[in-house]
């Protein structure tokens, strides 16, 4: 593909494909956010079986 190298100047560095594949570090979360994410895990543990139950129930009901 023909291109003018100066065209790339309009992109911010992090918009380049190679930069986007560079992983960001883990976030430093506060205690409050940690607790919220923990509560969310519990919610997910409850919600996933409900989803599976709903699917199985609907399947059996035809």
């Amino acid at each position: 593909m023909h291109f003018d190298p100066r065209e790339l100047a309009v992109l911010e560095r992090d918009q380049l494909a190679v930069e986007k594949l560079r992983a960001l570090p883990r976030a430093k979360v506060t205690r409050g956010v940690t607790l919220m994410l923990l509560a969310l895990r519990i919610y997910v543990l409850i919600a996933v079986p409900v989803v599976i139950y709903a699917f199985a129930h609907a399947l059996l009901a035809g």
């Binding site: 593909m1 291109f3 190298p5 100066r6 065209e7 790339l8 100047a9 309009v10 992109l11 911010e12 560095r13 992090d14 918009q15 380049l16 494909a17 190679v18 930069e19 986007k20 594949l21 992983a23 960001l24 570090p25 883990r26 976030a27 430093k28 979360v29 956010v33 919220m36 994410l37 969310l40 895990r41 919610y43 997910v44 919600a47 409900v50 989803v51 139950y53 709903a54 699917f55 129930h57 609907a58 399947l59 009901a61 035809g62």
Partner: protein, 452 residues
């Protein structure tokens, strides 16, 4: 703040990819338009993700929800309620625009990298599985719309699949986006359909201003429709799609005003189409037609035919096909973005097929599987549709809370992080939608809990 550089880098050591070059050309056009102060053209160039996500969420099942609402309660309480749900959708989606501009990362990869693999894999699996089932419902809409016109199911589903693949074969984000925006315009087919139902304009204006008349009975059916209308407006795929497509489009902090305008314009257009669907189906309410056994949008089109005429019913059926088709294209793309982001492989609609095997493979594979399921004789389509609702609503809470956490991550967001007002507005909506979503999921899974 992390080093998410704002400065251009023209280092000769960087080997540009096709994706970079195509994005650079799009950005060059934006830069020239901004420099020449042609604001209308600038807004047009930067529009796309917001319009597509909002009109994409006006999908097959959503339009059926709005039609069911209109047929069950007429024009009244639900007209302003729909406006409210799209205001909530705007607040949620606006956060994804800022995340995209500040980080140039998709939503799935941000969750994976910033909050860890557990939430990364969970969000991806939830999205990809939920999207696959949602795609089934979109192909049901396409099939049902086709049947209204006498087109065999296999033909309409086959055409739907070919259109999805053909859009990906454009291999150019800007062209893909403009093609879908052209298709999205047809979501407004519900407007002439509504006009052909000869609506009472004064009653609609009164309803929008006063939230009246209220339904006579506010039982389980009313509550379920409240929840279904919320579920028809804010869903997890929207968050992933808009952030990733805004990144793919190349939006930057300088485009914040236009990104917000794009999202607001999409919300307004989607609100108009949603209320038009409600209004178009309202004659069924006046005629006391029982819609409880209606399975698809085509059933509504057939029932409306004697009430709003052949033209109106035809427009309604065409609108349902468009709704399913556009959603199939946007939802399959959101799966592609999420999966490729989490596995750290190339993810852009500017890729060619060879460079984006996983990215394109997911969208094409999802569409192929969903289309095939719809065509299986005796397939449990109702069970799949039901599960879609449960997944989308019950798992909305984690998606919204993770969005809020990321939007408050000042290390990556800098000055675009949520302020106090945004957190109060966003937090309130998140709590409300999460509670409504969880309630809807539980009611759908255990209907005996609330009786009839």
């Amino acid at each position: 703040m992390l080093d998410l550089a704002m400065t251009p880098d023209t280092s000769p050591s960087i080997a540009p990819t096709r994706e970079d070059l195509l994005r650079a050309r799009d950005r060059l056009r934006v830069a020239r338009t901004r420099a020449s102060k042609r604001w209308v053209k600038l807004a047009w160039l930067l529009a796309g993700p917001g319009v597509l996500v909002m009109l994409g969420e006006n999908d097959g099942p959503s339009m059926v929800s709005y039609a069911t609402t209109g047929a069950s309660y007429g024009v009244g309480f639900f007209a302003p309620f729909i406006v409210l749900t799209f205001v909530m959708a705007y607040v949620v989606q606006e956060m994804t625009v800022r995340l995209a501009m500040a980080t140039h990362r998709g939503h799935a990869e941000l969750i994976f990298q910033r909050l860890g693999p557990f939430w990364g894999y969970f969000a991806m699996a939830d999205l990809v599985f939920g999207n696959l089932l949602t795609m089934v419902t979109e192909f049901i809409a396409i099939q049902a719309g086709g049947l209204y016109f006498g087109v065999p199911a296999a033909v309409s589903v086959g055409i739907g699949f070919i259109v999805v693949v053909a859009s990906l074969a454009l291999q150019r984000y800007a062209l893909w986006e403009r093609t879908l925006m052209t298709l999205a315009v047809f979501n407004l087919l519900f407007v002439p359909a509504a006009l052909l139902s000869h609506p009472d304009g004064a009653a609609l204006a009164r309803a929008l201003g006063t939230w009246r008349p209220l339904p006579e009975a506010m039982g389980a059916a009313f509550f379920t429709l409240i929840l279904a209308n919320v579920g028809a407006t804010v869903t997890p795929w929207m968050i992933f799609f808009q952030q990733s497509s805004a990144v793919d489009k190349g939006l930057t902090r300088a485009d914040l005003a236009q990104g917000r305008f794009d999202t607001a314009a999409g919300a307004i257009l989607a609100t108009i189409a949603a209320i038009a669907t409600l209004v178009a189906a309202a004659p069924l309410f006046a005629a006391h037609v029982d819609v409880s056994q209606f399975a698809s949008g085509a059933d509504f089109a057939s029932a409306l035919k004697p009430l709003i005429g052949t033209t109106g019913a035809t427009l309604f059926a065409l609108g349902i096909i468009e709704a399913g088709l556009l959603a199939a294209m946007t939802i399959s793309t959101s799966s592609s973005y999420a999966l490729a982001e989490v596995f750290s492989t190339a993810h852009s609609l500017n890729l060619d097929f060879r460079s984006g095997k996983l990215f394109f493979g997911v969208a094409i594979g999802t569409a192929a599987i969903a289309g095939a399921i719809v065509l299986i004789p005796g397939a449990p389509l109702l069970a799949l549709t039901l599960t879609v609702n449960v997944i989308a609503t019950m798992l909305m809470a984690p998606a919204l809370l993770l969005l809020l956490v990321l939007a408050n991550d000042r290390e990556i967001m800098g000055g675009l992080a949520n302020g106090r007002l945004a957190n109060v507005a966003g937090g309130t909506i998140v709590v409300l939608i999460a509670a409504i979503g969880a309630a809807y999921g539980v009611i759908t899974a255990f209907p005996a809990l609330i009786g009839k």
